[in-house]
């Protein structure tokens, strides 16, 4: 792995951080216009973050070390996971460092600390949020692994960069397994990023909230980091869907033109995805919590079908 | 000068002496002394036999098979005598037995030892029968020693059932003699085991088969084989504890010894008949049945001594099964099992005696918290039961290991009931043991004076046998194996 490769990797990682609030802003904007509102600017999330960083952080008396460290752990783990997913190019040394299972693991680490932080203060809300979050993720994580395993088994590699390369190299075969995996992964992404219909990022209604309940006690820069991490996670899933299933346009080398092209394409793809998400959030209603298992079971079923159809239909025969 | 007369007649002399001594304090010590002399004599005898091979004097014959049982019998007799001195003292102090009872007890103890040693050392099957019957007669009064209605009932059942059983054995012996008469000229030698063994192939198979059935039912009653076992728990539970220890540890062994000796004759005779393994199959069937049924009985016990007597039935069943299975491995295992079972079971009965004194009752429901009350008794019981249940490093494990692997080798399907039986019996023992040894101490429960030396010695020996079988013993057992199974193991 070259020096340049590592440089590129760092740059791409920084790009993730930089782009994350933009996607969130974009979705909000689209949603607002779908609801016939003007809505805040696309850059509003950046302003929010800046404002929160400037504010004083407050902590409950009962909060411990875990509460204070959690935002950093959550953010860094999410970031590290993101850094291993090809954004603009597949020549990514970080992808060798962390394959797709490690990415899932890092996301789980982030979630682990997030949930602990929720329980740290000792309020009912935090515990409730942590419980629900772990419950949802317990069902979502296997589905996600199954989905990426489908890809990995097809490409004979769990390295996401290799998976993408394999996709690009191969003839455009219509694989049933990919269809299932994509559908499953979309459902997982919706659940994991706390979007409607599983969770609603815009509400603080105790009967429904999951993610917001956990970070209820955060304020100031801690809250800023938590929010940013959430946006980063949204972007991560978006890129995962966009670049792994529809890799066309991504740079396969390090030459600047291709990189620029790759960036433009991925931004475009993300814009479409974000819009689609906004549309679905406008159309769908939030489900009751105990409908969530059905939703996630569907995801697990889809991804498992994907994997099975891969090993049965596509390998053997 | 041979040690043999000393072995057999020291107890007889002791019995006469003890019957005439009026001082119970002395009697206890004399009992110990006589037993010790007997034990020393058996040791000397063992050395002689180890050097000469077989020792045959008139109607006595000591070979590798019975010499180790002789030593074992004298040893267990000695340690039980050591235990019984303070124990019976305590019993007398609590007023359950009067002075005459004590005299009877000591005299009969030695009489019993005499019959046991006679039965083991004799070559004459008739004398063997007389001695085994004599053992019943010697112990039956001891079972009713406490004169409670239960004790009398137990003694009556013991007497009648064993009497009938032994009568049937006599019929078998007569048939045996009848078969022998066609082969052996000298009528006096017609019941000599060694003479019969030499001509076994010529003995008429149909008579021998019939005789063996009678002998098996007869001596099997004494072994405690199901369904002739009913006297055993009664007699064990109602008699004084030293009696239970020697009954379980010795009498059952001697009866089994008799059956094995007879099986050797029958096997020789039936070797060319249509059913060459008749005796073996009968033993296996009875053994397995006893083993399984006794294991189930363990679950429903309320009396601690009855429980361990069922455990004796179970182990006798196992040994019977093993002898029936035949083959050097199983035979060696069974011989070893006789040894370790005697040592362990008598140790357990000794401990149980103390436990019953601590609690003032034999009822399992009222024996509680022994480890806290008197740790030596509690741990003794716990370790003893662990040993009898077949846990290493105790010797019972070694023999069970040999038995199971032998079964696996020759009759793999029998391993399944054996496995089930071992598990069931184990569960039965421990489910009752647990509340007795563990837990809090009931109100007012006090330690009693206890002599745990015999227990420690027995369990120590069993432990030793589990860790390593000393060379001389291995050679003994192996020669006995060769004698019984025809092939040595080593």
């Amino acid at each position: 792995m070259s020096q340049a490769g590592w440089g590129l990797a760092v740059a791409q990682a920084l790009l993730y951080v930089a782009l994350a609030p933009l996607l969130a802003g974009w979705i909000r904007k689209v949603k607002a216009s779908l609801q016939n509102r003007r809505g805040p600017s696309v850059l509003q999330p950046y302003r929010d973050l800046r404002k929160l960083f400037a504010k004083e952080a407050r902590m409950a008396h009962t909060a411990s070390l875990v509460f204070r460290a959690a935002p950093y752990v959550v953010f860094i783990a999410t970031w590290l996971a993101a850094a291993a997913i090809p954004l603009v190019t597949t020549k990514l040394p970080t992808a060798a460092m962390a394959d797709v299972i490690v990415i899932v693991g890092l996301l789980a680490l982030a979630r682990f600390f997030l949930a602990l932080a929720g329980m740290d203060v000792g309020t009912a809300f935090g515990g409730m949020g942590a419980s629900r979050e772990m419950f949802v993720s317990a069902l979502a994580e296997p589905a996600m692994l199954m989905a990426v395993f489908t890809l990995a088994m097809t490409a004979h590699s769990t390295n996401l960069a290799s998976v993408v390369d394999y996709q690009l190299l191969g003839d455009n075969i219509l694989r049933p397994s990919y269809m299932f995996a994509l559908a499953g992964l979309v459902l997982v992404a919706v659940a994991e990023t706390g979007r409607i219909p599983v969770d609603n990022p815009a509400t603080h209604l105790e009967l429904t909230m999951i993610h917001e309940a956990m970070i209820l006690e955060y304020s100031g820069r801690h809250l800023a980091i938590m929010e940013w991490a959430a946006q980063l996670k949204l972007l991560l899933y978006g890129v995962l869907l966009a670049n792994v299933f529809f890799p066309w346009g991504i740079a396969e080398g390090t030459d600047p033109a291709a990189l620029g092209m790759g960036l433009a394409v991925v931004v475009g793809k993300l814009a479409v995805l974000g819009a689609a998400l906004a549309v679905s959030e406008t159309v769908l209603a939030k489900m009751r919590l105990f409908r969530a298992p059905d939703f996630l079971n569907l995801a697990l079923l889809l991804t498992l079908l994907g994997l099975l159809s891969h090993v049965i239909l596509e390998v053997g025969a | 000068m041979s040690a043999l007369p000393w072995v057999v007649f020291t107890p007889l002399a002791g019995a006469l002496l003890l019957a005439s001594i009026r001082r119970p304090q002395w009697a206890g010590w004399i009992n110990v002394l006589v037993s010790a002399v007997t034990f020393l004599a058996t040791l000397v005898l063992a050395f002689t036999v180890a050097e000469q091979g077989v020792l045959a004097v008139s109607m006595f014959r000591v070979d590798a098979f019975n010499v180790y049982l002789l030593v074992l019998t004298a040893f267990v007799g000695m340690t039980t005598a050591i235990f019984s001195r303070p124990y019976m003292q305590y019993v007398r102090d609590t007023g359950r037995v009067n002075r005459r009872g004590m005299r009877l007890y000591h005299a009969m103890f030695q009489t019993f030892m005499f019959t046991m040693l006679l039965a083991l050392s004799t070559d004459n099957l008739g004398v063997l029968w007389v001695a085994v019957e004599g053992a019943t007669l010697a112990t039956v009064l001891l079972v009713s020693l406490y004169r409670t209605p239960e004790a009398i009932e137990a003694a009556w059942k013991y007497f009648i059932l064993c009497g009938v059983g032994i009568a049937l054995a006599l019929f078998g012996t007569v048939l045996l003699y009848f078969a022998a008469q066609h082969v052996i000229e000298d009528p006096a030698a017609g019941l000599s085991w060694s003479a019969l063994h030499a001509v076994a192939p010529q003995l008429q198979p149909s008579i021998m088969g019939l005789a063996f059935v009678f002998l098996l039912v007869g001596y099997g009653t004494k072994i405690g084989l199901v369904p002739m076992h009913q006297w055993l728990p009664d007699a064990h539970s109602e008699g004084p504890t030293p009696m239970s220890a020697v009954l379980s540890g010795l009498l059952l062994n001697v009866a089994l010894y008799a059956v094995v000796r007879l099986k050797m004759l029958v096997d020789g005779s039936l070797a060319n008949a249509d059913t060459p393994h008749l005796a073996g199959y009968l033993l296996m069937g009875f053994g397995l049945l006893s083993f399984l049924v006794a294991g189930l009985f363990l679950h429903r016990q309320r009396d601690i001594k009855r429980m361990f007597s069922y455990s004796s039935i179970e182990h006798m069943g196992l040994m019977t099964f093993a002898f029936g299975l035949g083959g050097p491995l199983a035979t060696f295992g069974a011989l070893l099992h006789m040894l370790v079972h005697s040592l362990t079971k008598s140790a357990i009965f000794v401990t149980v005696g103390h436990a019953a004194h601590i609690a003032g009752t034999q009822s399992i429901d009222h024996i509680r918290g022994l480890i806290r009350t008197q740790p030596t008794v509690g741990w003794g019981l716990l370790l003893g039961v662990a040993a009898i249940a077949g846990f290493p490093p105790f010797g019972v494990f070694t023999s069970e290991f040999l038995l199971l692997t032998a079964t696996m080798k020759t009759q793999p399907w029998f391993a399944v009931p054996l496995l089930i039986g071992l598990a069931v019996a184990f569960a039965g023992l421990f489910r009752h043991l647990h509340p007795m040894v563990y837990g809090a101490v009931p109100e007012g429960q006090q330690p009693v004076p206890a002599n745990m030396l015999p227990v420690a010695v027995h369990l120590g020996l069993v432990l030793w046998l589990g860790l390593s079988i000393p060379g001389f013993l291995a050679r003994w057992l192996d020669r006995a194996t060769e004698l019984i199974a025809g092939v040595p193991l080593l």
Partner: protein, 669 residues
């Protein structure tokens, strides 16, 4: 300086363990002896075992010796090879930590009425038994050591015998151990009768037909599985492990279960030496069910040690999934992947020993300072016991299979093996593995949920009872014991290439080939098959995480002072109290609801005398109702019928004699 050979070291480890047992006999008179001599000796024995194991792994080769004990024709043979060496390491390291920890822990018993000689003595025997199991070179010594291990641990389970529930647990434990032991014994019996002898070498040479090999395999699987706690034979485990003193629980859950894994590997991979895909399906199925049921039942527990015990069931399931994959790939002619799965199972074995040992020691520390095992009474312990809190957190992260700790590495390796399913020819087998992988993934996620619950409820928030609020720090030795294990959890997570290199001697000896490609690309990169296929830069991930965390804290946390403390948000009502916190049962409620079918749930409201309502919830194991109770009832019923033999009437007895005689005469005539 004399360099002792590994075998000598192993022998001295056994000897030290026995000496510690002997010494503790005197602790009835001198209680301090237990703390000042017995436990250090015990730790030293662990250290010697560790050194012996490492020596064997590094040097390779096989060392044998004969002990002057045993049967005349079968002296006890001991043998130290790579496989034994690996398990010696596992035993040694946890025993060392438990010994160090025990120095502080046993102090709590000095004033109690419990028998100290029993505690120290059986602990020493327990260790000696485990060491001898892995050193045994013949079936007889193996069984002796195996049962010694069971028996002495049984006495330790029964150590707190004042509670009837503990006695019951001990009884059940010993019963199951006994049945399992008999099953193993019969398995050896099959091997011995074909191999003509009880020595392992003779068994290796045995030529078994598929049928008999399968009989031996099933017997071994049942026997070792029973000890390891595989579903559905696991029910004794969560009863027995928690009730022993905590450092013993750590040894039982952390090490003794591994000894069962050792036995399984030794018998199936080494002695039987054949691989059949039918077996692997059985192992995979049982392993998957164990993993899933273990973690689900763990989630339902609120007794900390019971919960950890159920997690042992889960992790043993994961280990057996690895072994099942190894069997599958080896039997279908894919030795590279088979080796990978085997190494994954080994890696998870040592990992589980470390983090489960750590967690039990942590639970013991909590128990030591609060006398509490019930999660619903705990809370806020991180501030009362910061060191224990941090170490426990390490354990929680490790067992939840989160990077960069060790649990993740082994699960990653297992996944990598599973992902090679495309190599298999049979479509049925190919589709079986994804399901196993899904179970594994679900298990991991549920484990994370469970440990969020544990840590969140016990160590975070506020104390839920008075005695927990007054928890005190534990002695140094107990912290050191936990610290050692926590550090190793991190090391095994960060430097997997190094450790896989070290353990490589085991597959080379057992399977005849190693996993050299795993570390072929430098210590930074773990590449189990090939770098293109998969790689994991564990040190890089760990360093990046650490550096970024430091940087973040430094950049943004400069103003730690500036954080202002205030009350938690109370929605404008009364300030939140400890009782308003989410409870452990509440935390698990959504999962309980979704998987309700798998549990036997007894929940309801009942009115009390004072008119209040009381909610009760009892989740019990389905295995009781489906397997254990029917067997117990069967025995009970048989026993009830059988007692009619002993009716009390002598005439009936005589009738039996007569009938027996007539029947026998009729049969033989």
């Amino acid at each position: 300086m004399i360099v002792a050979s590994p075998l000598v070291l192993a022998g001295s480890a056994v000897a030290l363990a026995l000496v510690s047992a002997l010494v503790s006999l005197y602790s009835a008179r001198v209680p301090q002896l237990l703390r000042q001599l017995v436990m250090p000796l015990f730790a030293l024995a662990g250290l010697a075992a560790l050194a012996a194991g490492l020596g064997a792994l590094v040097q390779g080769g096989v060392a044998v010796a004969e002990l002057p004990l045993g049967l005349p024709w079968l002296p006890w043979g001991i043998r130290l090879d790579a496989l034994s060496g690996f398990f010696l390491c596992v035993i040694g390291v946890v025993s060392f930590a438990a010994g160090v920890y025990g120095r502080g822990y046993v102090r709590g018993f000095e004033r109690g009425g419990d028998s100290l000689p029993a505690l120290g003595g059986f602990t020493g025997l327990f260790l000696a038994g485990m060491l001898l199991v892995v050193l045994a070179d013949d079936a007889f010594l193996f069984m002796v050591a195996w049962e010694l291990m069971s028996l002495s641990s049984y006495f330790l389970v029964a150590f707190h015998h004042d509670h009837a529930a503990n006695r019951r647990a001990a009884f059940l434990y010993l019963l199951m151990a006994h049945i399992g032991g008999l099953s193993i014994l019969l398995g050896y019996g099959v091997l011995a009768s074909f191999g003509d002898g009880f020595a392992f070498d003779a068994m290796r040479d045995a030529e078994l037909s598929f049928g008999w090999a399968s009989v031996a395999f099933v017997l071994a699987f049942v026997g070792f599985g029973m000890k390891a706690g595989l579903v559905p034979l696991h029910a004794w485990l969560p009863e027995a492990h928690p009730v022993a003193p905590s450092h013993i629980s750590a040894l039982m859950s952390g090490v003794m279960l591994k000894v069962a894994v050792y036995g399984f590997i030794r018998v199936v991979f080494d002695l039987i030496g054949q691989f059949h895909w039918q077996w692997s399906v059985a192992v995979l199925a049982i392993g998957s069910v164990s993993a899933l049921m273990g973690v689900l039942y763990a989630l339902m527990q609120h007794d900390l040690k019971r919960l950890l015990a159920y997690h042992s069931v889960e992790n043993i399931g994961i280990i057996f999934i690895g072994l099942g994959l190894a069997l599958l790939f080896l039997s279908t002619g894919h030795p590279v992947v088979g080796t990978l799965a085997f190494v994954a199972a080994l890696y998870h074995t040592i990992n589980h020993a470390l983090f489960k040992g750590l967690l039990f020691l942590g639970a013991g520390a909590v128990l030591h300072s609060t006398h509490e095992r019930d999660l619903e009474q705990m809370g806020g312990l991180l501030r009362r016991m910061p060191w224990t809190g941090v170490f426990f957190l390490v354990g929680c992260i490790s067992i939840s299979a989160l990077p960069p700790f060790n649990g993740f590495v082994s699960e990653w390796l297992t996944f990598q093996a599973a992902l090679q399913a495309w190599r298999l020819d049979s479509g049925v087998l190919r589709s079986l593995i994804p399901i196993t992988a899904a179970v594994l993934a679900l298990t991991g996620a549920l484990a994370a949920a469970c440990f969020v619950k544990v840590y969140g409820v016990a160590f975070l928030g506020q104390a839920r009872s008075r005695h927990v609020r007054r928890a005190r720090r534990v002695p140094h030795s107990m912290r050191v014991g936990q610290g050692v294990l926590a550090l190793l959890c991190l090391l095994l997570g960060v430097l997997p290439t190094y450790f896989i290199d070290l353990f490589d001697a085991v597959p080379r000896q057992v399977l005849g080939r190693g996993l050299t490609q795993a570390s072929a690309h430098g210590w930074l990169w773990l590449t189990p098959i090939a770098p293109e296929t998969a790689s994991y830069g564990a040190p890089l991930v760990a360093i990046t995480l650490a550096v970024a965390l430091m940087l973040g804290l430094w950049l943004l946390g400069r103003g730690i002072r500036r954080v202002r403390r205030c009350d938690a948000w109370d929605c404008g009502f009364a300030p939140p109290t400890a009782t308003m916190q989410y409870t452990a049962s509440a935390f698990a409620q959504p999962i309980r609801r979704v998987f309700g079918l798998l549990f036997h749930i007894d929940e309801g409201l009942e009115a009390q005398h004072n008119g209040r309502l009381r909610h009760h919830l009892h989740v019990s194991d389905r295995a009781w109702g489906l397997l254990y109770m029917p067997v117990a009832r069967l025995v009970e019923r048989a026993a009830r019928h059988v007692v009619h033999l002993q009716s009390g009437n002598i005439r009936i007895y005589l009738g039996w004699t007569l009938a027996t005689l007539l029947v026998l005469l009729w049969i033989t005539a």
